[in-house]
Structures are given as structure tokens and as C-alpha cells.
Amino acid sequence: MSLLEPLLYPLIGAVAIIAVSSLARGRGLLYCLIAVSSLTASLAALLHLYTALPVAFTLDGFLPPNGVQLYLDSFGAFMALLFVGIGILAAAYSFKYMADDDGLEKYYALLLLLVAGLLGVAAAGDLFTLFVFWELMCISSYALVSFRNYRWEPVEAGFKYLVMSTVGSITALYGMSFLYGITGTLHISELVSRMPAVATPEGYFALVLIFAGFGVTSAIVPFHTWLPDAPPAAPSPVSALLSGVVIKAGVYATFRIMFTIFKPASYDFGLLLIVFGAITLTVGNLLVLPQRDIKRFLAFSSIANVGLILLAGGVAAYVLHAYDYTTAAAIASLALSGAAFHILNHAVGKGLLFLSSGCLIHSTGTRDIAELEGIARRMPWSGGAMSVGMLNLGGIPPLGGFWSKLLIMMAPAALLQDPLMAVCVAVMILNSLLAAGYYVWLTQRLVFKNAPAKAIREAPFSMLLPVVLLALACVAITLLLPSVIGFVSSAILPLMA
């Protein structure tokens, strides 16, 4: 079993769908089956690899430090599992949701390419590979956002995403070129050892460029402007992927490069992450409040959650830089575990919310919250599952979102005498309040208002199944809390080295 397999299956699947489509036109079910089975194969391969981490794959005759390499450690595997997991559910969900669309072979092929890109980012052993898969991910997601190109909104959103993301990619690439200039290699483990131990201005320059560049995809304010438009315009399964996992790929790449290449002990980027994290968190949360479009509502909440994850990373980087390692290690690993746990919670929760809101939109044809009031009374399964997701991300105990926010908050709270940490705690608490407020508010609107007068049918089974599975996953995360925390804290170990 090689590391190539999980990556190869979705790529083969994408090619297979296109190939089959020339023989069997417009067979949504067939394409969907190919997509789901290739992703499932990929998941199985990943799970098989999971016991043997870290694993690497190189091409014969093209060896590092010059050649390309795939490399998967526990952090990458954690992300890869999330990517494929949400990918499978989104693909399965698409079968009914996209049933009335044309060009489904392109849709499923793009979906598989998107997941393949995500997997490649998680499994990249050098910055070149990372960038290639990054672009694969980005380009397929532009196309998916604009998939319903007969309407203006998706086209505009897709174009905006394209421009913003390209600017970001170029910036990040520019930053990587600096790294190459400093060390003469793009290979991550080589970079780690070759980077000078003392911070240099060129190093900082590279760091900022990479942070800003990947910041577009991870939707850090002020680079986030594509996100409020793209997921709402995209079909719901694509929104779930974008908001649930694509932006996490940005966070992953940022954390990976910052924590391993620019070590927090050498480069003082904690403040940077804290400032941008706090701004992102606050702006995201505040802008949720005026939204009437349920998907924009969720999109802004995604921005806020990325902000929280970034803030947690900032706290970790800050304590690792400012305090001696023995004090800092425990707090930093707490913060990073919290961040990883929140990545998990948000991926599952936001995936659930976008898919279940897709059910509502599919049945009612509207995204307006005012028109969706009391809808859960007509659609108890979708509405019930959605409530679980809303309460989860609202941080209502005992669901997982509460625990991950608590873990993140405990880290700076352990150093309250440090004014910066105290400010972090205050910002987190205030924002948790906002998040709890608007999610409970949304739950109340959707669930407890009087049911709409017109007859509305519950979503079909194949759409409900992924939604209910995700809701069960939310509950399962709560019930398996000790082992989940063990899992995430082992996942972030590569960042702590």
C-alpha cells in the first residue's frame, strides 16, 4: 500500500466518469456511484495507511531534495480523513440534489478533482507538490462554484473567487520563492533543517507573503471577500466542501509552513496570527447578524470559525516564542489540540449545516431565513439534524463545539497574567457569546416558529442520509470525547516538534 493510492483513486474516478460519460450520457446515478466508490476506496486506503504513519512516497530517479515527494504525517492524515469523509457525503448527497442539472459528468469529475487536490495538499512533502495540488483544488472549485452558469450569481461569485484566489496563490508562490532563495530547496523536511535558526527580514517577508496568500483560501479578514459570495452561489454540496474543508486546507497549509518551517521559537508570528485571528473572528461574527440569506449566514460564520482556529494557533505560537519551552509546550499543545478539534467540529458541523440547509432550499426553493421560519416542523429530519449542527457550532454544551472552544480558551486562560493572553480570552468569550446568540436565534427561527402554511415535503432519503450521519457524528464526537481529544492531540504533534 503506497501513499499514492488515496490520491490516485479520485483522479482515476474523475477520468473514469468522463470516459464513461461519452458512452452513457446523463447517467447521474452512475457518475455518483463512481465518485462515491472511488472516494470510499481512497478513504479505505487512508485508513490502512493510518497505522503506519508517517509514510512517504517518492518517484524513482527523482529523489528529494530536488525531486517531488508525498509525505503524510498524523496532522496531514487527520486533515485528509476529514477531506475524504466530507467529500464522500457531499458526493452521495449530490445524487438527488443535482439530479435536475445537466453536465453531471463534469460536476462529479470536478468534485473528485477537488478532493484529490485537497488530499494532495495534505500529503505534499514539498512546496512544489503542495502548490500543484493547491491549484488543482482551487481551479476545480472555481468551476464548481460557477457550475450553474445559466444564472448570473454563480458566475459572478466564481469569477470573484477566481480573481481573489489567484492573487492569493501568486502571492504565496512569491513567498515560496523567497524560501527557495534562502535555503535552495522546496522540500519541507530539508527546509526545516536548512532554515537559519535566527530570524531574518527576508524570512519574515516570505512568511507574510505566504500567510496572506493562503489567507485568501482560508478566508482571513481582509482576504476573505470571496467567501460570502462563493458558497451561497454554489450548489449546497459544493458549499459544504468549500466552507467545511477547503478553507481548512488554507489553515492547514498556513499552520504547516509556519509551525514547521518558520519555527515559532525563531520567528515571532504569534502576534500576527492573534491580531488577524481576532479580527477575523470578530468581523465574521458581527457580519453574521444582518444576514437574511441562510447560506451567507453560514458563510460568515465560517469566517468567524477560521478566525478562532487562527487565534488558537496564534496563542500557541506566541507562548512558544515568548515563554521557555517547558511552560509553553503544554499550553501550546492545548491550544493546537483545541484548534485541531475545532477544525474537526467545524468541518463536520458546517458540512452538516450546508447540506441540511441544502435540503431546506431543495424543498422550498428559497434561501431567505424569513421564509424558512418553522420549516423544521414540516421537515423534521432535516430540521432536527440541522438543529444539532447549529447547537454544535453555537458552542452549546455538551456538544463538541463547546469542548473545542473550551480547550482553545483554556490555553490563554492559563496565562492570564499576560495582558495579550487576557485580551485573547476576552475576545474569545465575547465572540462565543455572539456565536451562541445567533445560532440559538437561528434554531429558534427554523424550529420553534409556527410551521409554514404550504405543504412542504421532507428531502429524499439519499439527501437525508448524509445529513443524519453528520448529525450522528456530532453526537458521537460528544460521546467519545476522551478518545477524540486523544486523537486530535496526537494529530498536532508534528506541529510541536
Binding site: 470573484k160 492569493g168 519574515y204 507574510v208 496572506a212 502576534l271
Partner: protein
């Protein structure tokens, strides 16, 4: 010796699991159909009665007690290794009690079929009725305190839900489902709450008592407690008396004895079958059962700590005083069910009296058997009284006795049933069960030489007879009230005996009380032998020579008959013959005192309820409205204004978006410059 096998003991488990399972089955059956649900619920209670009855053959057995035990919890880290088992104790007391509960309970369930017909919330009704029965049976059959508390609290919860069953507090039906008049009237939801909270006071005391007892004796199992009581270790000996008194606190709450009796008269807001169930078969009997259950423990412990005699004296005095006080209140009540409620409190006082007196003498078996026998006979005649009262209230659409009158001719079957059970309540000699059981309690007081208690008991007989005759006179004799005429004019009145589904249960019960009266003497002898024989083994006394003469019995009978007439005759003259009662200022102020319940109820409201509510309202307006609401509104307003300002920056123009990217990058550079230079 009965062949005791597993299959013979299975009913002890089934007895309470069937109603509990039935309660949950009701929820499912309600989806099948209304008839399936109703008859299913009744069927489960009948099955419970059958399994209880199948324990009866064990009764005279020498093999008792049987304790079926399972391991449950072992408390770690405690100084004493305390292992709490789960289990079922089968002894004469639990067999008798579970039969009383389930047999009368199932008759009440049959009656409910018709009485509650058409109620929109029947699923809830059946659910809680069966759960109530199941919890009561669990309580009675448990072999240790901890498990018993589950049943105990379950009974409490179900009583809350059933007393407040008509929780919408409909003003239209206030003649039927409220309780009290004027300032002291209260709706069902209030009564349910009141019952729950007042019994909770007793429960807390009891819990403390149970803890003390566990500390003193190191176990929660009843049989082990009995065994350990004789040789309780020195340092913990002083805990026994407080433990006993605190546990009695639980009984006082549940059985509505002084000073925690105030919840029970108000509990009449529940549907009549609920009242019957609470008063006749379950709930209030739990307190008597508890005293009977701990009786052997403390009776044995008397050897180790003679101070425990105080416990038995307290039980006896509380019982006697409650019997008298509650009976006097019944004499002025205007509501039919409330008369019966006060009467229940009063009769339970007798049972407590019997139990208490029994503990002070060597011939404990007269008082103990008397208490248990009165429990049985009261359960039967009070159930009959309540069910027939329900029929009356159903017919005239009012709970007030001044809305009734002259019903004897129109509802003959109901009248006969009520008459028979009333005579039993009064203790009419020889043919009615109440006579035998009440006299046995009085006799035990006589034998113990407790003359003040005997006197109180006898006075209570007079008062009981007075209010019972008054009740019969007001309801069934005299002229029909104007209310009836008004109801008839409005077409709401359906005077007459109800359908057999309702009459048959209370006729069976009325017939049973007569049958128990006719066989009273043998029943008495049987119970005395049963308990004397059973406890002689437990108390390690060897064979007890049952010493009971005929003389005390005859003497008590003569005395009680005398007091019976002293109470019944004036009432007969006033309420049947229409004589004008004597008028005087003293009498009317006594009447007022009684009507206001000795101001005890008002006192509780003034001492506990009103200050608490006052404080809560102050806290609400100061903290909730004054501080938290404003804080919340402030946070919300701040967030809203910040978001509306921020929103202007998100116009969605791509040019500005790219510009924002550039600005962000510049900002980043700036931060880095600061960091690098600094």
C-alpha cells in the same frame, strides 16, 4: 411450608415491572388506537393484581422472609464498604401491601375507563396512573432503602402529575376541578406543586435519616438492618433515635400527618379516580408502610437504646393528634371530596397511632396488626367512597355539597355503596370492616395504658361519625339544590346512577367492606397470629404466647359504640331530620377556625411561600430586569450597531476586494516591520 421456587417468586418482580412497562406501552398503544390504549392500560393493572395475588399462597409460610437480592452498586472509597443491592423482600407486610395496592388500583383503573372517557389527554392519564402503581409496588417490594427511594420519589412525581392533571386550570370547570372557596381556592397546577413541595420537606428529612441509619448500621437492606439493630456498635448508638425521627419525617410528609398535612386536602383537584388512588391504595399509605417497615428495626434496637421509645411515642401522638385535628376540619368542609380527604388524613392518623402504641409494649402485635388491618379496611372503604363520590360529582357537575341534596332516590346504587362504606368509616359495629380495625387500634392504646391517646382516638370516633352522617345527609337527603335546577334548565344534568363500568367497581368495594366486616373477627385473629408468628422469629423471642383477652375487646367495642352514637345522633338530627343546629358566637368562631384549617395553611403561606415569592420577585426585578436584561440588551445593541457599520465595507465590489487584499498585505508588512525592528 410452601415450596419456594424461582417461579413462585417471579410475581414479586412482575408485580411492579408490568405496570411500569404498561405505562410506556401506553405511549405506543396510543398510536394504535384509543380503545387499545385504554383497555391495554387497564389490563396491565389487572395483570399486576394477578401477580400480586399469586404471592398470597406464600403468606402463612414459615419460609418468610424471602429476600431476592442482586448486586447493584458498591460504593468505592468509602470508609465503610457499603454495598447496595437491588432486591425484593417478600414478607407478610409487603405481600399484604402489594395486594391492597394492585387490586384496588385495578378497580380504580376500570372505573377510570368511563369516568375519564373523552378526556383529550388520556394517554398522559394512563401513563401516569400505571407508572404510579408501578412505583408504589416497587416501593413496597424493595428490600432496601435506596431502591425503595426510587419508588418513593416516583410516587411523588406521579402524584404531582396526576393531582395537576387538568393543568390548564380551566376557570369554566372550576366547580369540578378546583379546590377550596374564596381566598383559599386553588387550581390543579397549584395543588400538584403544593403536594410535591410539601412532601419534599418530609423526603429531605427522611433522606437524612436514612443516611444516619446507614452510618450507624452499615447497610441499607431491611433484613440486615433488623439483624444489626440488636447489637449496634457503641459510638453510633446515639444516631439511632435521630435517624428514626427523621425517617418518620418522610412518613409524615407522604402520609399527610401533622404538621405536613396541608397538601392533601388541596390534592382534590385531581380527577376522582386519582384521588381514590392516592388516598385509598397508594401514596398516603406509603408513610404507614414505611413506619411498619422500620418498626422491627427500632423495636429490636430498643434493647440497645431504650431512648428509642421516644420514636414510638412520637409516632403515636402525631397519629392521634392528626386523627383528631383532621376529623374536626371535615365537619365544616363544603366539598364532598374534601370531606373524604380530611377523613383520609384522620384515618391514617389511626394507623400511625396503632403502630406507635405497638412499639411501646411487649404485645406489639395488637397495635401492629391493628395498624395494618386498618390500612386494609380503610383502603377498601375509602376507595368505595371516592369512586361513588366521583359518580355524584359527575352527576351534579359540582364538588360542593350545597349543590347536591336529595340524590338518594335518584342514584340508589351509588347511595347504597356510599352508605355501606360510610358505615364502615364510622365503625358501625360487627358488619363493617372499619369497626374491627379501628377498635383494634383503640384496644392497643387501651392495653398499653395510654389513656390520653385512647381518649383522643375515641373523640375522633365521635367527630368522624358526625361528619360522615353530615356528608350523607347533605348529599343524599334533604331538598335538591337550586344548582341542580339551574343545571337541569341548562340541560347539563344527568342525574342517575352512571354506567356499570363505573358502578361495578365501587359496588364491589362496598360489598368487600361488608364482607370484611362480617369476617372481621377471623381476619383479626389471622393477622395477629401472622404478625406475632412472623416477628417472633425475627425478634428471636421464640414462640410468642398471644395474650389477648375478650374483655378488652368488648370494653373497647362498647366505648367506641358509645362515642359513635354521641357523634352520629346530633348529625342525624340536624342533617336528616332538619333540626336547626344550636347557634352561638363560640360555635361560629370554632366553625371559622376549622374552616380556615386552624390557620395552619395560611401560616405556611405567610411563613414560607409568600416570603420566598417576595424575595424572588425582588431578585427578578433587581437582578434579571435591572441588570442582566439591560446588559444583554446592551451587548445586542452594540453588536448590531457594529455590524451595521461593518456591513458597509462589504459591498461585494471585486475592485475593492482586491484593494482590501493589498491593504491587508500592507498591514501584515507593517506588523512584521514593527516586530523585526523591535
Amino acid at each position: 411450608m410452601v415450596d419456594v421456587t424461582y417461579s413462585a417468586l417471579l410475581p414479586a418482580v412482575l408485580c411492579w415491572t408490568i405496570p411500569v412497562a404498561g405505562a410506556f406501552a401506553t405511549l405506543g398503544l396510543s398510536k394504535v388506537g384509543a380503545r387499545a390504549r385504554d383497555y391495554g392500560a387497564v389490563l396491565t393493572s389487572i395483570l399486576a393484581a394477578i401477580s400480586a395475588a399469586s404471592l398470597l399462597p406464600l403468606l402463612p409460610s414459615e419460609g418468610l422472609p424471602i429476600d431476592i437480592r442482586f448486586d447493584w452498586v458498591t460504593l468505592p472509597f468509602s470508609e465503610m464498604p457499603l454495598s447496595i443491592g437491588a432486591g425484593f423482600l417478600i414478607d407478610p407486610l409487603s405481600i399484604i401491601l402489594c395486594n391492597v395496592v394492585s387490586v384496588i388500583g385495578s378497580l380504580i383503573m376500570v372505573y377510570s375507563l368511563k369516568y375519564m372517557e373523552g378526556d383529550p389527554s388520556l394517554t398522559r392519564y394512563w401513563f401516569f396512573m400505571n407508572l404510579f402503581l408501578g412505583n408504589m409496588l416497587l416501593l413496597v417490594l424493595s428490600d432496601n432503602f435506596v431502591q425503595m427511594l426510587f419508588g418513593w420519589e416516583g410516587v411523588g412525581v406521579c402524584s404531582y402529575a396526576l393531582i395537576g392533571f387538568w393543568h390548564s386550570d380551566s376557570k369554566e370547570d372550576w366547580l369540578k376541578c378546583w379546590v377550596g372557596e374564596g381566598k383559599e381556592s386553588c387550581p390543579p397546577s397549584h395543588s400538584g406543586m403544593k403536594a410535591f413541595i410539601m412532601t419534599r420537606f418530609g423526603d429531605v428529612l427522611m433522606l437524612m435519616g436514612v443516611f444516619l441509619l446507614i452510618v450507624a448500621l452499615g447497610t441499607a437492606n431491611f433484613l440486615e438492618l433488623q439483624n444489626g439493630a440488636a447489637s449496634v456498635a457503641g459510638p453510633y448508638k446515639f444516631l439511632l433515635l435521630p435517624a428514626a425521627l427523621l425517617i418518620f419525617g418522610g412518613a409524615v410528609g407522604k402520609s399527610a400527618q401533622l404538621p405536613l398535612m396541608e397538601w392533601l386536602p388541596d390534592a382534590m383537584t385531581g380527577p376522582t379516580p386519582v384521588s381514590a388512588l392516592i388516598h385509598a391504595a397508594t401514596m398516603v399509605k406509603a408513610g404507614v408502610y414505611l413506619v411498619a417497615r422500620v418498626f422491627p428495626i427500632f423495636y429490636i434496637a430498643l434493647v440497645a437504646d431504650p431512648a428509642l421509645i421516644t420514636f414510638f411515642q412520637v409516632v403515636a401522638w402525631v397519629g392521634a393528634l392528626t386523627a383528631f385535628v383532621a376529623a374536626t376540619q371535615a365537619t365544616v368542609s363544603t366539598e364532598l371530596k374534601k370531606v373524604l380527604a380530611y377523613s383520609t388524613v384522620s384515618q391514617i392518623g389511626y394507623m400511625m397511632l396503632g403502630m406507635g402504641v405497638a412499639g411501646t409494649v411487649a404485645e406489639f402485635y395488637i397495635g401492629y396488626a391493628g395498624g395494618v388491618m386498618h390500612l386494609m379496611s380503610h383502603a377498601v372503604f375509602k376507595a368505595a367512597l371516592f369512586l361513588s363520590a366521583g359518580a355524584v360529582i359527575h352527576a351534579v357537575n359540582s364538588r360542593f355539597m350545597y349543590h347536591m341534596g336529595g340524590l338518594g332516590k335518584k342514584m340508589p346504587l351509588t347511595y347504597v355503596a356510599m352508605l355501606a362504606s360510610s358505615l364502615s368509616l364510622m365503625g358501625m359495629p360487627v358488619f363493617f370492616s372499619g369497626f374491627w380495625s379501628k377498635d383494634m387500634v383503640l384496644e392497643s392504646a387501651l392495653l398499653a395504658g395510654q389513656y390520653p391517646l385512647l381518649m383522643l382516638g375515641l373523640l375522633t370516633v365521635s367527630v368522624t361519625c358526625f361528619y360522615t352522617v353530615r356528608m350523607l345527609g347533605l348529599v343524599f337527603h334533604g331538598k335538591p339544590s337550586e344548582h341542580q335546577a339551574a343545571e337541569a334548565a341548562a340541560g347539563h344534568l344527568h342525574l342517575g346512577d352512571p354506567s356499570p363500568k363505573m358502578t361495578v367497581p365501587y359496588q364491589i368495594l362496598a360489598a368487600a367492606t361488608v364482607a370484611m366486616g362480617v369476617t372481621g373477627y377471623f381476619q383479626r385473629e389471622w393477622l395477629v397470629k401472622l404478625f406475632a408468628g412472623y416477628y417472633s422469629g425475627i425478634f428471636a423471642l421464640g414462640h410468642i404466647e398471644i395474650s389477648e383477652g375478650l374483655m378488652p375487646q368488648l370494653f373497647t367495642a362498647a366505648l367506641s359504640t358509645l362515642f359513635l352514637l354521641a357523634g352520629a345522633v346530633p348529625a342525624y338530627l340536624i342533617y336528616f331530620r332538619g333540626r336547626t343546629p344550636p347557634q352561638s358566637g363560640l360555635l361560629s368562631s370554632i366553625r371559622n377556625l376549622l374552616f380556615r384549617r386552624y390557620y395552619l395553611n395560611a401560616l405556611y403561606y405567610a411563613l414560607f411561600v409568600n416570603p420566598t415569592m417576595w424575595l424572588a420577585e425582588r431578585l427578578y426585578s433587581a437582578m434579571e430586569v435591572g441588570f442582566f436584561d439591560r446588559l444583554n440588551a446592551g451587548i445586542a445593541a452594540a453588536a448590531r450597531s457594529a455590524s451595521s457599520k461593518l456591513r458597509k465595507s462589504h459591498a461585494g465590489d471585486l475592485n475593492y476586494n482586491v484593494l482590501a487584499f493589498a491593504v491587508g498585505l500592507a498591514l501584515l508588512m507593517l506588523i512584521i516591520l514593527v516586530v523585526v525592528i523591535w
